[in-house]
Structures are given as structure tokens and as C-alpha cells.
């Protein structure tokens, strides 16, 4: 039994942060107990790689049980997890919270977009007096980005461009992306005419030869997971080598709800409830790493109350749960006559976009009317048909027979979707706290979210929609019906981009932050946070690669402290 063994470190969570910490700490010779709230998950056996929609219930459409479609890898609901509610405060704007309950967490289904934060991203306050600066610079994290890219396998190699705040990876870090698909060649020309760069996407997919890894077969959607481990998942890339050290023990179905302290005020372990049996267990170790995801990490801290910390662990300054951020999401799709009747071509590709548009407006923020920016993720092509297929001809609700078949053949692959993913500036109206009344099935108090987008975000959303419409117009396309141009309505819901971060941020001291630059908490020196909760700002770049790099850097520091006997 886990409780009987002696561990150096307990890691709560098995996703990007937990998986990476376990990878490094076990390789450093530390004995690690990993506690995962969800069930065991084996991507090799469970991934539906080549199954077509006709084999799935309801042809694979989204349902409340499988909100991203039947074949999405997520176990246990995503937006609504059975027996584990959360609440949104009265008067708040909507907030939704995606949680899987499986080994590897969200890394099993994530979009595999692996962009580095840039130099400006770490010092946003210094640039425009908004938000907060990180206690580290790009240069501090750059070596860890290099190592992370080489470990997990990232495509997108290209000659260095030197674009502002859009880091080029050093030679040897990235593999080449698959060539642009037909629609990617097509849209690039419109952006070029507008003076906006289109560059290779950085995707966590093995597109070339990599030792110990299978190369992508350029066929199936990454969101299902990957049975051959050709993309990055904690369960295929980080946990197997960690297990191979003999230093890792994994306990699944273990929902941690409390960090336990000894009399000296140090963390002595954690307490969890087994989600299947309802039994409660306490386990001990010399140090504790929280990597349960920003929401759950904050919940554990806030529920860990003691006489020394009556408002929750590490929360003496009331900072836990604060500075909650997400990405700004917008999207417009359109149909393009110029793409009709293209000869059949295989657009499956490497799962991620092959190219994308990095934010280009750093010099024009005043003119645009918002601070910070967004990048554009663009999807399209002749992808495997779904129940959404009739959407390629909204103008035709009547044709049948040969006319219908001909129109579908002609229109197939002629729709492109443009999605903005942008930076949000932290504000005082966005945070989570413990709901005074609501509890989960096991009686553990749950999170209550508060959300309100700021004007910088809603103006940004309006700008993104305007940009998409201009691009669509230049390409001769017809936008989807009823495009919302009001940024306040076009913007995504809080949490909807599943980039919620920043509830236990890092900083310079215990007055401005919960943890230091290595995720070590100010209040309890052997308690660490190694997930997105530590983030100080929410750059437009998707956070997973940065969570991995920060976790590796923090785990390296933890291992050093452990060897020094400092924990």
C-alpha cells in the first residue's frame, strides 16, 4: 500500500505539470508517489485511432456526456464531472471548467499547440503598465523550453525570423512540419496581402525521426489521443520513462482535498478520498507538489485550513484563487467558392495546424484600442466528414439526388474556420473561492467562480472578428450567417478555452504572490505548485508548453534542494 512506503515527494496530478515533475524527480533518484483523481488510462489500448464516425453512437456528435464528440479522449465529462459540481457566483459572467478524470489529465486530448511565450510576455507591466511582471525573464526559461521541445517532440522548424515576441527555437529543438495543406496555401495569400505573417505552427507531434518515438502517421485527430505515442501526452511520453526508473508509484482515483502540516508547519503529506470506494486516506512524504490544474490546486489550498492558516494554506494574503485567467476566444467560419471542386487531396496532416498567424500588432496597440494581442489558429480542408457536413451548404436546404451529391462533392473542403486565441489581462473580478454551501459527493467544499472580461479583451475580440471578415472578403468567401461583431458578445465564456491559469501565482515575495519563481510556496517551504496556477500573465500562446518548461525548471530546483537536505 502506498501509505506504508516512504516517499520523497507526493505529486498531485498527472497532466503536463505533474507528469513533467514526476519525469524529472524520478530520474533524479527521488521516490515519488503520484496521486491522480481520475482512473487509470492506457492510450495504447483505449485510443480509437482509425474508427470512423459511422461506428460511434450518433455518428460521434457532441453530447453532454462527451462534449467534444464521442471519440474525444476525455474521460468523465469535461464540463460537468459526475458527483463533482462547481458553482458560479450570482452576478458573474459565465465561467465553465473543463476537467477530465483520467491518468494524464488534459494532455490526452489537448490541441498539441506548443508555442513559447516571448520576451514581452514575461514583462507585460513594464511594457504597458497593465497586469503584472513575472519574476523571471524569457532568458531564464529559454533553456528549459529547449529541453522540453527536444523531450516531447515538437514540429515547426523554420529559418529564424526574429519576429517580435515570437521566439524562434534554436536549431535542433524542432522537427519540420508537414507542408501546408491546400487551404493553408490559400489563406496565406490574403494575410500576405495585408502585411501579416503566416509561419509554421509549433505542434507537439513527432513529424520526423526521433529516438524512442514513433513518427506521426498523418491520419487521425490528435484529440482522440495517440495509440502510437506520436504526439505528446503525459501518459505516453512522461509517465512510462518515470515508471521505468522504479521510483514512481501511481495511485489513481485519488481525489486529494487537503495538504497536511506537521507541528513545525511543514507539509507532511496529503489526504484524499478514493472516488470509487469513498474511503479517505492520508499519505506522507518529505515534500508535496500540487499540479492538479489551476482550479483544483487552488481548491486544495483553500480547503487546507488550520489554526495557522484559517483562510486556507498559503492564503494569508488572500492571494490564492486570485488572478484567474483564460485565453480570449473568438471564431468565424466561411465558405470559399475558390476552393470548390478542388481535386481530392489528403488533408488529414499532422493533427495540428501546419501554419498559423502569430500576433502582428505590437506596434499598433494604441491604434487598435486594446493592449496585448491574439494569434490565429485556422482549420479547414477535406477532413473526415461528420454530422456537421450539411453546414457546408447553408444556402441549400432542398436539393436531393444527383444535384445534392454533386453540390456536396463540389463544396467538400471549401470551408475554413478562423479562431483567435488572445491574451487576457488579470483583473480583480476574475477569481475562484470556496463556495460556502456547495459540496461534492464526499462532502468536500467546491469552488465558486467569479468572472468578468475587461474592455481590453472585448475590444480584442471585436478586432479579431473584423480581421477575420477582411480576410474572408479578400478570399472571396461567404461568412457563416449572423456573425457577431460586438466583442462583448463574440468573446468566449470564461474558462471555455480551457486555459485557466494563475490562481497561485509566482512572484518576488510573500506579499505579491503565493510561490516563488520555482513554484516553492512562501508559507510552507516543502510545498510546491507546478501547474498553470503559477502563471502571472496569460499570453496568447497556449499554456501547455510553458507549464511543461516551468515544471521541469521547478522540479530541477526541488531535486537540488532535496539533495542539499533543505526540505
Amino acid at each position: 500500500m502506498a501509505a506504508a512506503a516512504s516517499y520523497d515527494v507526493i505529486i498531485v496530478g498527472s497532466g503536463a505539470g505533474g507528469g513533467m515533475s514526476a519525469y524529472h524527480l524520478t530520474k533524479s533518484g527521488l521516490k515519488v508517489l503520484m496521486l491522480e483523481a481520475g482512473r487509470h488510462y492506457d492510450p495504447v489500448k483505449e485510443t480509437p485511432m482509425f474508427n470512423i464516425n459511422a461506428e460511434a453512437p450518433l455518428r460521434g456528435v457532441s453530447t453532454p456526456d462527451k462534449p467534444f464528440g464521442f471519440y474525444d479522449a476525455t474521460v468523465d465529462g469535461g464540463w460537468e464531472v459526475p458527483n463533482e459540481p462547481y458553482t458560479v457566483a450570482d452576478g458573474s459572467e459565465p465561467f465553465i471548467w473543463w476537467r477530465p478524470r483520467m491518468l494524464g489529465g488534459r494532455t490526452n486530448h489537448w490541441g498539441r499547440i506548443a508555442l513559447r511565450f516571448g520576451e514581452l510576455d514575461f514583462k507585460p507591466y513594464s511594457r504597458d503598465s497593465l497586469g503584472y511582471d513575472w519574476p523571471i525573464t524569457y532568458a531564464d526559461l529559454a533553456p528549459w523550453y529547449d529541453k522540453t521541445e527536444k523531450l516531447i517532440g515538437v514540429s515547426g522548424a523554420a529559418p529564424a525570423r526574429g519576429l517580435l515576441n515570437t521566439p524562434d527555437s534554436p536549431p535542433g529543438c524542432l522537427m519540420e512540419s508537414a507542408p501546408p495543406r491546400a487551404f493553408e496555401i490559400f489563406y496565406e495569400r490574403a494575410f500576405r496581402a495585408m502585411g501579416i505573417p503566416v509561419i509554421p505552427m509549433h505542434g507537439a507531434v513527432v513529424t520526423g525521426q526521433m529516438e524512442g518515438r514513433n513518427t506521426c502517421v498523418f491520419a487521425t485527430p490528435c484529440g482522440r489521443g495517440c495509440a502510437i505515442g506520436a504526439n505528446f501526452q503525459s501518459t505516453t511520453v512522461l509517465l512510462p520513462p518515470a515508471m521505468a526508473t522504479g521510483n514512481l508509484t501511481i495511485t489513481t482515483d485519488a481525489l486529494v482535498y487537503q495538504v497536511d502540516l506537521d507541528k513545525a508547519g511543514k507539509a507532511k503529506g496529503v489526504t484524499y478520498v478514493n472516488r470509487k470506494t469513498g474511503e479517505h486516506h492520508s499519505v506522507t512524504a518529505k515534500s508535496v507538489v500540487l499540479a492538479a490544474g489551476s482550479g483544483e490546486t487552488a481548491r486544495i489550498l483553500l480547503n487546507s485550513k488550520s489554526s495557522a492558516f484559517p483562510n486556507g494554506l498559503c492564503n494569508t494574503q488572500g492571494m490564492v484563487g486570485r488572478y484567474l485567467m483564460d485565453s480570449v476566444g473568438t471564431g468565424v467560419s466561411a465558405q470559399f467558392p475558390a476552393l470548390e471542386g478542388l481535386p481530392p487531396t489528403n488533408d488529414d496532416g499532422q493533427g495540428t495546424q501546419h501554419t498559423y498567424v502569430p500576433w502582428w500588432g505590437y506596434e499598433k496597440q494604441k491604434e487598435f484600442g486594446f493592449a496585448r494581442g491574439y494569434h490565429i489558429e485556422i482549420g479547414g480542408g477535406r477532413r473526415m466528414p461528420s454530422m456537421g457536413l450539411p453546414g457546408i451548404m447553408p444556402d441549400d436546404q432542398t436539393s436531393v439526388g444527383d444535384a445534392l451529391r454533386a453540390k456536396l462533392r463540389n463544396r467538400f473542403g471549401s470551408v475554413i474556420g478562423f479562431d483567435g486565441r488572445g491574451e487576457m489581462i488579470p483583473n480583480d473580478d476574475c477569481y475562484c473561492e470556496i463556495d460556502p454551501n456547495a459540496k461534492d459527493k464526499w462532502g468536500i467544499p467546491v469552488l465558486r467562480f467569479h468572472w468578468k472580461w475587461g474592455e481590453h479583451e472585448t475590444n480584442q475580440a471585436a478586432h479579431a472578428v473584423k480581421t477575420f471578415l477582411e480576410v474572408i472578403d479578400r478570399l472571396g468567401g461567404t461568412p457563416e450567417p449572423n456573425v457577431e461583431t460586438d466583442g462583448r458578445k463574440a468573446i468566449s465564456k470564461g474558462g471555455e478555452m480551457i486555459h485557466e491559469i494563475g490562481t497561485a501565482r509566482m512572484g518576488h515575495n510573500d506579499k505579491d504572490s503565493v510561490v516563488n519563481q520555482f513554484g516553492q510556496s512562501w508559507a510552507v517551504p516543502n510545498l510546491f505548485v507546478m501547474d498553470g496556477a503559477v502563471m502571472v500573465s496569460s499570453p496568447d500562446k497556449n499554456p501547455t508548453l510553458s507549464i511543461l518548461a516551468l515544471a521541469w525548471r521547478s522540479a530541477d530546483n526541488l531535486a537540488t534542494l532535496a539533495k542539499q537536505g533543505a526540505l
Binding site: E46, I52, A182, A338, N346, Q350
Partner: protein
């Protein structure tokens, strides 16, 4: 299906669902008598079926994918009508099969019988529509059938049924072939689009002044 003629009317639709699966649904709604008729798939009864039906849950088996577990609600007549309408929308051609031969009526049954909100919303529209249409197309002669079908386009029922038929049809391997989807095959590399595709694109881009 290929032998049907206007004079004799369409061949009866034979469900593509295997009997064992169908008996499972009947078991769910407790129709002991239906199970007694050996070798015959009986649709219904309806009592309690919809309200008791459960979805596949938040952790369904994906590989291989589970079958939709809920009992089916469509009657024999509704299935037959669905087959006639699905084949009006997508009849067989020289190179592609008919919608009914790909089991589209069974899919419509799976859809309208499902316990999820989107599908529950479609249920009365589809079932009522099939009921009304059935009176015209199941008993009348070929001319009456043709007239009843030709009168449908424009109605909400037709729009929805047609969308379901298109989706169901083109998510099959036969549908992939008909529409020109050539992916979902393992490849050693992705060479990108062919020179022919690039040439077409270039022509189109030039027309757009790009």
C-alpha cells in the same frame, strides 16, 4: 433495393440492426412478448422507453466503440417511411448505394430515440413528420408517393430529416468514396497537396488578385 420499380412500390426496408441488439433494447423496456417472436425484430413498445433511457455515460468504451445503448422508439411504419424518404434524398446511383442500404433509417431511429437534449428536441419533429408522410407514401400508388415527397422540401421536418440523412450517409466508407474523402490512412509522410491541386489554387488566387 436496385430492383424496385414505381409500379410495385419500394421493397420493404430491412433493419440493419442485428436481432440480439434489438432484443437488448426490448429487454430494457420490459416487452417480454416481443422477445418470443423468434427471428423477428420488433420495434417498440414505447411505454416508458424514452423516460427510462440512459445515455452511454461519461466514460463509454471508445475502442472498439460501444453501440448506442438506448431502446429505439420508431414503429415499423415510421422506419419504412424513413427508408422511402432517405432514398428520395439519396437514391442509389451507378456508383453509390442508396441511403437505406447504408442503414440510414436505423440511424434516424437511433437519433430520435437518444436521451440527449439535441436529439430529444428533434424527436417530435421527425416522428410526427414521418407519421404524416407515412399516410401518403405507405399506401398510395407511385404517383401519390411522388407527389407527397415533392411537396416536402421547405418544411422544417424535411430540412432536419435531410440533414440527418446527409450526415449519416457521408460518415460511412461509402459516403467517403462518394464525396471524395481519401484520408484516414496511415502514411509514412505527408507530401502535401499535389502539383495539380497547387495549380488549381494558383489559378483561383490569381482570379482573386492574390
Amino acid at each position: 433495393m436496385s430492383t424496385k420499380t414505381p409500379e410495385t412500390g419500394p421493397e420493404p426496408y430491412v433493419s440493419k440492426i442485428d436481432r440480439r441488439t434489438a432484443l437488448t433494447w426490448i429487454g430494457v423496456v420490459g416487452a417480454a412478448t416481443a422477445a418470443a417472436s423468434a427471428g423477428v425484430v420488433v420495434y417498440g413498445p414505447k411505454t416508458g422507453g424514452a423516460s427510462q433511457a440512459k445515455g452511454y455515460g461519461t466514460d463509454p468504451k471508445l475502442n472498439p466503440p460501444v453501440k448506442a445503448p438506448w431502446p429505439r422508439l420508431m414503429s415499423h411504419d415510421q422506419l419504412q417511411t424513413a427508408a422511402i424518404l432517405a432514398d428520395y434524398i439519396l437514391p442509389a446511383t451507378a456508383t453509390a448505394p442508396s441511403a437505406s442500404s447504408l442503414g440510414v433509417p436505423d440511424f434516424v431511429d437511433e437519433w430520435v430515440s437518444a436521451p440527449y437534449p439535441d436529439q430529444v428536441k428533434d424527436r417530435p419533429l421527425i416522428l410526427d413528420g414521418l407519421g404524416l408522410l407515412g399516410r401518403e407514401v405507405l399506401k398510395g400508388d407511385a404517383a401519390q408517393r411522388a407527389k407527397a415527397l415533392a411537396a416536402l422540401p421547405g418544411s422544417d421536418f424535411f430540412k432536419r430529416f435531410r440533414a440527418l440523412t446527409i450526415g449519416a450517409y457521408y460518415t460511412t466508407e461509402a459516403g467517403f468514396k462518394d464525396i471524395g474523402y481519401i484520408g484516414n490512412v496511415a502514411r509514412a509522410s505527408d507530401p502535401g497537396p499535389s502539383e495539380e491541386v497547387k495549380a488549381v489554387l494558383e489559378r483561383e488566387l490569381q482570379k482573386l488578385g492574390l
